[in-house]
């Protein structure tokens, strides 16, 4: 009797202990899911409400009607769709061969090419647009000046014109394709050679192997990448802000921007961002429909490593191909930026006697904002990257292991900010955080919240890609040995996901450094970032300092990314 009572107590204790361990991790997951929901739902909800009300706060559907009836809005929607679809296609066409060569073959200088892709990713799109303006404006563009010298064109004849729909598409794709490239290289690297070998052993030829093994494993990443590229292009403000207006058209984002000019038509702007939200929702839903039931576990307990394919005589042409691709997002634009940064006057050619450090001095010490902005940029970049990494890892894990009720909503929530243009998100957050209970306006924290929200999708994409290939069997083994879920996560899952974690951190960090449109609304003199300083310089036409700060931004990002990749954490740096 007594012993039986003792036994019961023992069981109860074990039960309680197990339950408590379970509860803690569940509470963490639930709390994070809730935070995510608040972060995304609050501004989105505000947006919805504003789109169906007028300035007096009454219900009004005129704004929605204007979407259909206003010809300038219709035209903007049309051209935005054309650009977004073309950008996604162009990115896929460029990134697929590049990612394959880098991830699966022995093409020379792989690290350098990867670094070049990182450089194009690091480049804020509006800075790239400024550089392409210098390169390919029809009359003054350097490429056209050279073309005139080579082919003997007349003064107003040109070869390239960046101020066109195709020009905007091209300049957007230059700084969007790294999203596709990164997802694809991750996918290619995870295709285990042993599966392909097995296919070869049972007599399949190279094409058959590619079709049955490689393509199905890489296709989800390609689609996910194109999706990100499409949505990025859809909501991008920087590139069209520089290039679309001179070309004589508006995209949805520049149209939104003009709606925020004095006097601001906030309600119409909210309605005008609804198509972006709807399209994103549709695309994400479509992606689930297409890829939802197709999952492949490639990292299991025993997994082979990938072996690079020997290119033989094709090594040199492959390298040339990679270099040619990198000409457009990196080599030419940075050449242009260097010229603008170190030549005294914009009208002078690049020659020894015209070189000067005037712009460098002015950008670093002449503008009192630069130093504050540098400090803020670093602080925001690092904090945003750390927070988003933790949040997306945990939510991604909770979603893929179906740990919390409503886990299906998690990916949608995490991806939703993709559909909200930064400028609209900025206004939404402004309204949310200037009212009690959360009065954050004027502090750097509101900028941080904006960045965390806006960078969530980029991070979540990475985690989804990394997590889907990770079989639970290793975690289950750990749990069987008595480790709690959190301990398992830290000891087993995180090290397996090391490269994913590092890439999430870097992508988010870079994204935060590139972010412009929300920062411009939420930051003030003490909380502004380098991107805001650059934008203000652009308004006053100070090209030299813009180029200096742009180059500086790239150098800093590079230093940080290299540092993070070498951190002796989670088994890195070996």
């Amino acid at each position: 009797m007594a012993s039986s009572a003792l036994l019961l107590t023992g069981e109860q204790v074990a039960g309680i202990r197990r339950r408590r361990g379970f509860d803690v991790s569940m509470a963490v997951f639930a709390l994070l899911a809730l935070c995510l929901a608040l972060l995304v739902v609050m501004p989105t909800g505000w947006l919805l409400w504003y789109s169906v009300t007028n300035d007096q706060g009454q219900l009004a559907f005129g704004n929605w009607l204007a979407l259909v009836t206003d010809p300038s809005l219709r035209a903007a929607m049309g051209v935005t769709m054309v650009i977004a679809v073309s950008v996604a296609a162009l990115c896929a066409v460029v990134a697929l061969p590049l990612a394959f060569l880098i991830a699966r073959t022995d093409v020379p200088l792989r690290r350098t090419i990867r670094a070049a892709v990182t450089a194009s990713f690091v480049t804020p799109p509006f800075l790239g647009a400024v550089a392409w303006e210098v390169l390919a404006a029809p009359n003054s563009g350097l490429l056209n000046v050279w073309a005139r010298q080579i082919f003997g064109f007349g003064r107003y004849q040109h070869l390239f014109n960046i101020f066109t729909v195709s020009g905007v598409t091209f300049a957007t794709a230059c700084y969007t394709f790294p999203y596709v490239f990164t997802l694809l290289t991750n996918a290619f690297e995870r295709v285990p050679t042993e599966l392909e070998d097995a296919s070869a052993v049972i007599g399949a030829n190279r094409w058959r192997t590619a079709r049955d093994i490689t393509v199905p494993l890489v296709l989800p990443a390609l689609l996910a990448g194109m999706l990100v590229a499409f949505l990025q292009a859809l909501t991008l403000f920087g590139t069209p802000a520089i290039l679309a207006l001179p070309a004589g058209f508006n995209t949805l984002t520049t149209k939104l921007w003009s709606l925020f000019q004095y006097p601001p038509q906030t309600h119409l702007a909210a309605a005008a961002s609804m198509p972006l939200l709807l399209i994103t929702a549709l695309v994400l839903w479509g992606q689930r429909r297409v890829l939802g039931d197709r999952s492949f576990v490639v990292i299991a307990g025993r997994s082979g490593t990938t072996r690079p394919i020997a290119l033989g005589i094709w090594r040199a042409p492959a390298l040339l191909f990679c270099a040619f691709i990198m000409l457009f997002p990196v080599i030419l634009p940075y050449f242009a930026l260097f010229k603008v940064a170190f030549v005294h006057n914009i009208s002078e050619p690049l020659a020894w006697q015209n070189l000067s450090l005037e712009h460098v001095g002015f950008a670093l010490w002449g503008i009192s904002d630069t130093q504050v902005a540098l400090k803020n940029t670093m602080l925001l970049g690092v904090l945003t990257a750390c927070i988003v990494t933790v949040v997306v890892l945990v939510t991604g894990y909770a979603a893929s292991r179906r740990l919390v009720p409503g886990h299906r909503a998690l990916p949608v929530l995490a991806m939703a900010p993709l559909a909200i243009p930064g400028i609209v998100m900025g206004v939404g957050l402004f309204l949310v955080y200037t009212h009690p209970p959360l009065m954050l306006y004027g502090t750097i924290w509101i900028v941080l919240i904006a960045f965390v929200t806006l960078e969530m999708p980029g991070g979540y994409q990475q985690v989804q890609a990394g997590m889907s290939g990770l079989h639970p069997e290793l975690e289950e083994a750990s749990r069987i040995f008595g480790a709690s879920r959190l301990r398992t996560l830290i000891d087993i899952t995180a090290p397996l996901l090391r490269s994913t974690i590092v890439s999430i951190w870097c992508i988010v960090f870079i994204g935060a450094l590139r972010e412009l449109s929300a920062a411009i609304l939420l930051a003030n003199a003490n909380t502004q970032t380098i991107a805001v300083v650059i934008y203000n310089l652009n308004e006053s036409g100070d090209m030299g300092p813009i180029a200096v700060l742009g180059i500086l931004l790239m150098l800093i990002t590079f230093a940080v990314v290299i540092l993070v990749n070498r951190l002796p954490m989670l088994g890195g740096g070996r």
Binding site: W257, G366, Y441, E539, G541
Partner: protein, 351 residues
């Protein structure tokens, strides 16, 4: 290079002068609204928040010279484009956040609105009340023109020789200028919205309808056309701030401003202290400083702005306001008409 170096040295010299002037009796005589009591009260507040859209290095220079004159008061400069400054202010006031002490921008239409909403203090320095022309200060004493510029045409003198220079807006409609023009858009720039409204009153929409057939390159801000013609991307600018054209010229770029025969729209940039200023005394002191001869002369010397202070020494070689044909519109007319102008402009130019 030369220009910026000069500016920096001159800044130092002026800073010294500022201290001397502020301490000496000359300054208080010229601006009797700056009383020792006001300075004391402002010193206790210790800070002034200045919302401005003035040129970047100019904003820094003015703030520094003020802090040299009044070392106990820190100037927080919130500088951005005119439209961004106004947008921020409207956002903040809509949420009952009163950060700004002094507002200053190149968009006069919004100051009418601020006044109507009761956001501006009824305060103008004595200097302005006595010396400023009546049309350059609000009749109820809420704001006045702290700086002005003209909206002019501009030309790249390397690309267009003097024989072929356009002299009037009407000249730009000739076939030789197809594909050669650049112009800022009133939908993004307050300055251009004002000048477009004024030009429509003077030369009519017919001009713009014909201009739209000339394949005009459109840019956002009034500071951009001078940049575009400096680069040689287009040889002729339809509009742009006079001071920006002159600035680029002084830096050694081959460009010049052209004052069209039809007249040049005058763009008045007002300043005002806010009614609910968090630092009300510092706000009044700073507003007085912006209108003082010293600050006004800095704006004229360093970035070629126009001032209505009669004591200003005009820089050599610049056309005097009195010798130019100026086109004006009242702030009330602008506030009422600009929105319609923008809509019509979009229907003509599609952006």
């Amino acid at each position: 290079m030369k220009r910026r170096d000069i500016m920096i040295t001159r800044r130092g010299a002026l800073g010294g002068a500022a201290t001397a002037l502020a301490a000496g009796p000359a300054f208080s005589q010229a601006a009797p609204s700056v009383t020792p009591e006001l300075v004391d009260a402002a010193n206790k507040e210790g800070k002034v928040v200045w919302y401005t859209s003035i040129e970047l290095s100019m904003a820094g220079a003015i703030a520094r010279s003020f802090m040299q004159a009044y070392p106990k008061i820190m100037v927080q400069t919130e500088r951005s484009g005119a439209e961004r400054v106004l947008q921020r202010l409207m956002q903040e006031y809509a949420s009952d956040i009163h950060n700004a002490d002094v507002i200053e921008s190149s968009d006069i239409t919004s100051f009418e609105l601020f006044k109507d909403k009761g956001w501006l203090a009824q305060f103008l320095p004595e200097e302005v009340k006595q010396l400023w022309p009546a049309e350059e200060r609000d009749s109820d004493g809420h704001y006045a023109t702290v700086r002005a510029t003209l909206n002019t045409m501009g030309v790249n003198t390397d690309l267009i020789k003097s024989a072929g220079l356009p002299k009037a807006y009407a000249d730009l409609l000739r076939p030789e200028w197809v594909g050669k023009l650049v112009k800022a858009s009133p939908n993004y720039s307050g300055v251009v919205a004002v000048s477009t409204y004024i030009l429509v009153q003077t030369i009519g929409w017919g001009f713009f309808e014909k201009l739209a057939r000339q394949q005009v390159m459109q840019v956002q801000s009034a500071a951009e056309p001078p940049k575009v013609i400096s680069q040689g991307e287009r040889p002729v600018a339809v509009d742009g701030g006079e001071y920006v054209f002159l600035n680029y010229k002084h830096k050694g770029n081959p460009i010049d401003a052209i004052y069209p025969l039809e007249g040049s729209p005058l763009i008045s940039g007002p300043a005002a202290a806010t009614k609910d200023a968090p630092h009300p005394n510092a706000a009044r002191l700073y507003t007085s400083y912006l209108f003082s001869l010293q600050a006004q002369q800095m704006m004229v010397d360093q970035i070629d702005l126009r001032s209505f202070h009669p004591g200003i020494k005009e820089p050599a070689g610049r056309a005097k306001l009195a010798d130019l044909k100026l086109l004006r519109a009242s702030p009330q007319a602008l506030a009422a008409g600009v929105e319609e102008t923008k809509k019509k402009y979009t229907s003509i130019f599609s952006v």
